[in-house]
């Protein structure tokens, strides 16, 4: 299992959020999630401009084994999606915390970050 980067915040449903220097937030799924899913063959990304609520459905990831919803850790507007995943969904398996990011949002309210798990609490929640 890869080490969980300490600067990430998590939902217990395995999405991570990273606050970038410009105040935007990048979202993806955890290494643990990609491992549970197995080979990922399809990612359905949201449209740029879409408004999301915290813990609202944002994307869908399909592996050979299962389809899974991806929820947004924060409320805000989608400002970019990782279109590389459309043709190369396996990047999520290979690099879940870097190249395999799903989308970026312009957050409405950074106070919502307080509701997310830090890396250590998330790691604990995976062991339960």
């Amino acid at each position: 299992m890869r080490e969980i980067p300490g600067d990430l915040k998590f939902l217990s449903s395995h999405e991570w959020a990273r606050i970038e220097d410009d105040g935007t937030v990048t979202v993806g799924i955890s290494d643990h999630a990609q491992d549970l899913l197995g080979d990922i063959v399809f990612v359905e990304l949201p449209e740029v401009g879409k408004i999301l609520s915290a813990e609202g459905e944002a994307a869908i990831v399909e592996s050979v084994k299962a389809a899974s919803d991806v929820y947004s850790p924060l409320s805000g507007e989608i400002i970019a999606v990782n279109s590389l995943l459309e043709d190369n969904p396996e990047i999520v398996n290979e690099s879940p915390y870097e190249d395999g990011w799903f989308f970026k949002i312009k957050p409405d309210n950074l106070d919502e970050l307080a509701d997310l798990l830090d890396a250590e609490s998330y790691a604990d929640s995976c062991e339960d």
């Binding site: 197995g38 399809f42 050979v64 084994k65 389809a67």
Partner: protein, 354 residues
């Protein structure tokens, strides 16, 4: 949880393990897609010892099989051959699909794992009037060697030349068990039904030769690409063989043969029955069991679905109305996606397209 004699080997190979009908089995040893392609391009080795082995003993074993088995056992009588077919209930519903192995007077059956206790009672109940002993061979392991290079590897694994001379569905004796030219992947290959210590030897030799171990996940995508049914998904007691793509395994040719389910099947018009079809999703996505299919000529439901590594598209088996056209839509998360209804032999289509 039940464990096969190779359980420790799977753990050593760092397999992701899964509970499969009460058995702790390897799902994959890494990437399911890589395992799938290894079997299509080279060879792979599978531990399928969770499946059930029966041996039948008695002078009237052939009469017994002629009665409980819907394919005609006479086709393999006095031949060292295996035959695929179903056992039916009195309504013609499928109790299980299985292979009967006939070898030098012996009759063995390999059937599914989830149906073990049901089949045991069914066989024992009907064996009484034929004075046949139905023995569970729990101390046996089943290993499958599958792939285009299986024929090259077999001699090195079992150290006898004659195994590679077996024809399709051919069977031979081997170290207290059997080797058969059978499989569940659509590739050439062999299956070994052997005592545990022989099974471990075979497994170890295959791994030493660099043959990839293959988990149940790839086994499922391989069988689906080959258009082979899975009991519990694509057939069960609620459907008869014509609705399950298995009409070809029902042998009515001997009018004297009164097999269980025959009378019920003879009352059915197979032309108007629902049918099994292959489905290819034109767009991105993955078809899953339970998804509905719709068209202006009928409807249906997905039974098994996966992503085909060979076609690079999602494929599925579906049960649809007999009159359903080739053009339909699948309902995925309340949205319509175009699908093609095709022959379930997806692999052959790949060869045609190339």
């Amino acid at each position: 949880m039940n464990k096969t004699c190779l359980h420790q080997k799977h753990l050593e190979l760092k397999a992701k393990m899964v509970d499969f009908s009460g058995w702790d089995m390897p799902l994959s040893y890494g990437s399911q897609l890589d395992e799938h392609m290894a079997v299509r391009s080279k060879a792979g080795i599978f531990d399928v010892s969770h499946m059930t082995v029966f041996s039948l003993v008695g002078n009237q074993t052939e009469q017994f099989l002629s009665y409980v088995f819907a394919n005609d056992i006479a086709k393999v009588k006095n031949k060292n051959k295996a035959i695929y077919g179903t056992i039916l209930n009195n309504d013609g519903g499928i109790l299980d699909d299985l292979i009967v192995y006939s070898c030098n007077g012996k009759y063995w059956i390999v059937s599914n794992c989830g149906t073990k206790s049901k089949n045991t009672s069914w066989f024992k109940k009907h064996a009484i009037e034929f004075s046949v002993d139905v023995n569970l061979m729990d101390e046996f392991s089943i290993i499958a060697l599958q792939g285009p290079l299986a024929k090259e590897h077999i001699a090195k694994i079992v150290e006898i030349e004659s195994a590679s001379q077996l024809t399709a569905f051919g069977v031979m004796d081997f170290k207290g068990g059997l080797i058969a030219r059978t499989g569940y992947t659509g590739e050439d290959g062999f299956e070994f039904i052997v005592p545990r210590d022989v099974g471990i030897e075979i497994w170890n030799k295959a791994i030493e030769l660099g043959i990839a171990p293959i988990g149940l996940a790839a086994r499922d995508s391989l069988r689906l690409e080959a258009g082979l049914n899975l009991y519990g998904n694509d057939m069960d007691e609620n459907y008869h063989p014509f609705e399950s793509g298995l009409g070809w395994t029902i042998d009515f040719s001997n009018a004297e043969r009164k097999f269980i389910g025959r009378a019920a099947l003879e009352r059915i018009d197979s032309k108007t029955s629902k049918k099994i079809t292959g489905v290819i999703l034109k767009d991105r996505g993955v078809l899953r069991p339970g998804y509905r299919l719709q068209s202006n000529s009928g409807e249906g439901v997905i039974l098994s679905g996966t992503f085909s590594p060979i076609l690079q598209k999602s494929i599925a088996l579906a049960r649809v109305d007999s009159c359903m056209n080739d053009e339909a839509v699948a309902i995925i998360r309340e949205k319509e996606f175009s699908v093609d209804l095709v022959s379930s032999r997806f692999l052959k289509q790949d060869k045609i397209m190339k």
